[in-house]
């Protein structure tokens, strides 16, 4: 097991190297250039140097005068030491900006993750138990709606209903207008109210696939021979479903849920942007559209690490829940 994990980690490191090189190449090649924008702005100031002079100076300052490969090596050298440089857009070290915003995203992700599990798994089991019944069909339709509606569309509909028509919830933002004047308890409440719509969006969007996944796996388990054995023992239907069947359905479920755990830190780019929640997703979006290479590089590499970590966790959890893959 240990050797397996070490081997996986070695592969992960190699993968990260390649992934970051690709991202860097893309960032350098896209038309949005922070340096060019800066140079254009500065050259328009009264009595300023010309555009090309500014551009040459800024390119040198930001280390953009070297080729892509050399530039990448320079980035890689300092990144390996944990120094990701200063963000161009936010003018503070990348790590500092990251630690400022990550928790907003984490809370958003964690709450909707828990809600997703609480809602989707029981619904999936219910749909499987009553396959082809009215309950099954209605759950499936709702799940399909959740899967097929794009985030931006669904979020906009929620905003229209709850903010515009009903006026119950704020349209966007993370705090209200009078946030500073509120007591501590009320400040938390204010944030909580602002979080309702984004969490609703994220949860409903993600419920569908998890519910379908649970249903499919539960159906497969329910049709297996050992469930018939469990029934033949005289166990009550409740025990058969909740103990014998669920324990087996848990194997694939834990694997995908465990695999998506690191994703809690990834932020929800579209949802955060739509609701203007200053989480990691929204921040990364701002950095990307302004061509902020250090921050984007950090975010993308961070995402790559999370993805690779996810598959690793999934594999390890598989061994934990399924005795057949356990290695002694």
């Amino acid at each position: 097991m240990r050797r397996y994990v070490l081997k996986r980690l070695a592969i992960t490191v190699a993968l990260l190297f390649v992934v970051s090189l690709i991202i860097y190449t893309i960032m350098r090649s896209i038309p949005t250039s922070y340096v060019e924008n800066q140079a254009r702005m500065l050259s328009q100031l009264p009595g300023a140097k010309s555009y090309s002079e500014w551009l040459a100076q800024l390119n040198a300052n930001y280390g953009m005068d070297k080729g892509i490969l050399l530039g990448y090596m320079q980035w890689f050298k300092s990144a390996i030491k944990g120094d990701f440089g200063d963000s161009w857009q936010f003018n503070i070290p990348v790590i500092q900006k990251f630690s400022q915003v990550i928790w907003y995203s984490f809370i958003l992700g964690a709450i909707s993750f828990i809600l997703e599990i609480i809602i989707a798994i029981p619904l999936g089991i219910l749909a499987a138990r009553k396959q082809y019944s009215r309950t099954d069909y209605s759950i499936t339709v709702i799940a399909l709606l959740g899967i097929s509606l794009p985030t931006f569309f669904f979020a906009t509909i929620l905003k229209l209903i709850f903010s515009v028509w009903l006026g119950w919830l704020p349209l966007y933002g993370m705090v209200g207008r009078y946030y500073e004047l509120l007591s501590t308890a009320n400040q938390y409440l204010d944030i909580a109210i602002h979080y309702i719509l984004p969490i609703m969006t994220l949860t409903i969007i993600s419920i569908g696939s998890l519910m379908r996944y649970t249903r499919t796996n539960m159906l497969e388990v329910l049709n297996s021979d050992y469930i018939r054995t469990a029934r033949a023992k005289g166990l009550s239907e409740k025990k058969v479903i909740n103990y014998h069947a669920f324990r087996n359905t848990l194997i694939p479920l834990v694997t995908i849920l465990g695999g998506s755990l690191p994703g809690l830190f990834a932020g929800a780019l579209i949802t955060e942007t739509l609701f203007q929640i200053p989480g990691i997703g929204y921040t990364a979006y701002l950095a990307m559209v302004s061509g902020d290479i250090p921050f984007t590089m950090f975010y993308m590499v961070f995402m790559a690490i999370l993805t690779l970590l996810g598959t690793l966790i999934a594999d390890i959890l598989y061994a934990v829940v399924d005795p057949r893959v356990r290695v002694s």
Binding site: S224, D225, Y226, T229, A230, A232, K233, G234
Partner: protein, 393 residues
């Protein structure tokens, strides 16, 4: 092939292999209506005991299955898996049920256990009378909660697939403990464990303490079947239903498992209902034999009668298609020509007529009645109608 139009649905003879979407919808709508009704009756709360209490026709019998009909309501039509099966299981005897795949052997046993896949599968008619000493219940009408106390306790079942019949994520000990705990309320944990280990010893597992802690994947197929048998016997059942217990095992293990079942049967004195298509196994184990074909019993009698004097052409064919030692020199293995009729569209004459080498004019008539050639030997074939009449005259 003609496409079915509106008028064609009413035609007498239609192609059952072709259904329009409209027809499928109509069939599934009708099915839903029928099964919903059955489910409603099934799901009723507080069913009075009188409704399923009954009396045995013969007190020597442990179980009497009478005119059992189990249908599956599928989208292509009603599949009459079991239609009018009648047989008895005497106390302490072994009854073998033979027939080819799909003849309704397993569905009969699942009907007895009430494990037919609902709501599509339903017992539509018939009685399964079972003698529980103090009372006699009709298992076809008994409510679920009551049946749960009977399953694994009074009636237990051994399935044909030992490789997949044990839950892969639980230890062997837990799985056997569970059934003992379920039917023996208030038994201490220690006692349950001892009983489990005792049962594992009894079915010939040498390292019973070790196996107690193992997962199913650590055992071979034969070992798993032994565990299944231990589980089935752990509550001293009155009836053990063994549904092709040796099909998935290799020949040496088959013999071991059969020996084990025979020895255990003598020890615990319960009845066995042995379902198989292996005639050799039946000849060795069974006291009575029931031969099934396409959901009906076509011949039944004592093992001696069936093996020495098979009457129904199907039974005769079945006997002829046994491989014999040294018989291979004779050439090809005999097989009954033709195939079983479509279960959705059964003919109204004898189901075997189209494959029968002795069919005659009379066979085109209604399905042949049950004809008793001796007190125990029944056959459903027109060839023996006369002999019966003579006897009664």
């Amino acid at each position: 092939m003609k496409v079915l139009g509106k008028e064609d649905t009413n035609q007498e003879k239609k192609n059952v292999n072709y259904l329009t979407a409209k027809e499928v919808r109509r069939i599934s709508r009708e099915n839903r209506k029928t099964t919903d009704e059955f489910e409603k009756t099934r799901e009723r709360k507080n069913v009075s005991v009188d409704e399923y209490t009954t009396i045995m026709k013969n007190n020597d019998n442990l179980m009497e299955v009478e005119n059992l009909h189990t249908y599956f309501f599928t989208d292509i039509g009603i599949v009459k898996s079991v239609s009018g099966v009648t047989f008895d299981v005497p106390k302490g005897k072994t009854v073998g049920i033979v027939g080819e795949s799909g003849c309704g052997k397993s569905v009969t046993s699942l009907s007895i256990m009430q494990l037919v896949q609902r709501p599509q599968g339903q017992i539509v008619e018939g009685q399964i009378r079972f003698d529980f000493d103090e009372y006699i219940y009709d298992l076809a009408k008994i409510p679920n909660e009551k049946m749960q106390q009977i399953r694994g306790n009074e009636i237990s079942m051994i399935f044909q697939e030992p490789m997949t019949s044990l839950n892969p994520v639980f230890r062997i000990g837990l799985q056997v403990d569970e059934v003992i705990e379920l039917h023996n309320h208030g038994m201490s944990k220690e006692k349950i464990k001892n009983r489990t280990i005792e049962m594992l010893d009894m079915v010939g597992i040498a390292n019973s303490e070790g196996v107690y802690k193992m997962f199913p994947h650590e055992l071979s197929g034969g070992m798993r079947q032994r565990v299944m048998i231990a589980m089935a016997l752990s509550c001293d059942p009155k009836l053990i239903i063994a549904d092709e217990p040796t099909t998935a095992l290799d020949v040496t293990i088959q013999a071991q498992i059969m020996d084990l079942l025979r020895n255990l049967k003598n020890k615990i004195n319960s009845s066995i209902m042995l379902i198989t298509h292996d005639l050799g196994v039946i000849a060795e184990m069974a006291d009575f034999v029931v031969v099934m074909y396409a959901g009906k019993v076509i011949e039944k009698g004592t093992a001696k009668e069936i093996f020495h004097n098979p009457l129904h052409p199907y039974t005769v064919g079945l006997m002829a298609s046994r491989p014999k030692i040294g018989g291979l020199k004779a050439g090809k293995l005999y097989s009954i020509p033709g195939s079983v009729p479509n279960p959705v569209d059964m003919p109204d004459y004898c189901y075997f007529k189209d494959r029968c080498n002795r069919s005659m004019k009379k066979c085109n008539g209604a399905y042949p009645p049950e004809i008793y050639v001796s007190d125990t030997h029944m056959v459903a074939c027109y060839h023996y109608l006369d002999s019966e009449e003579e006897k009664h005259d």
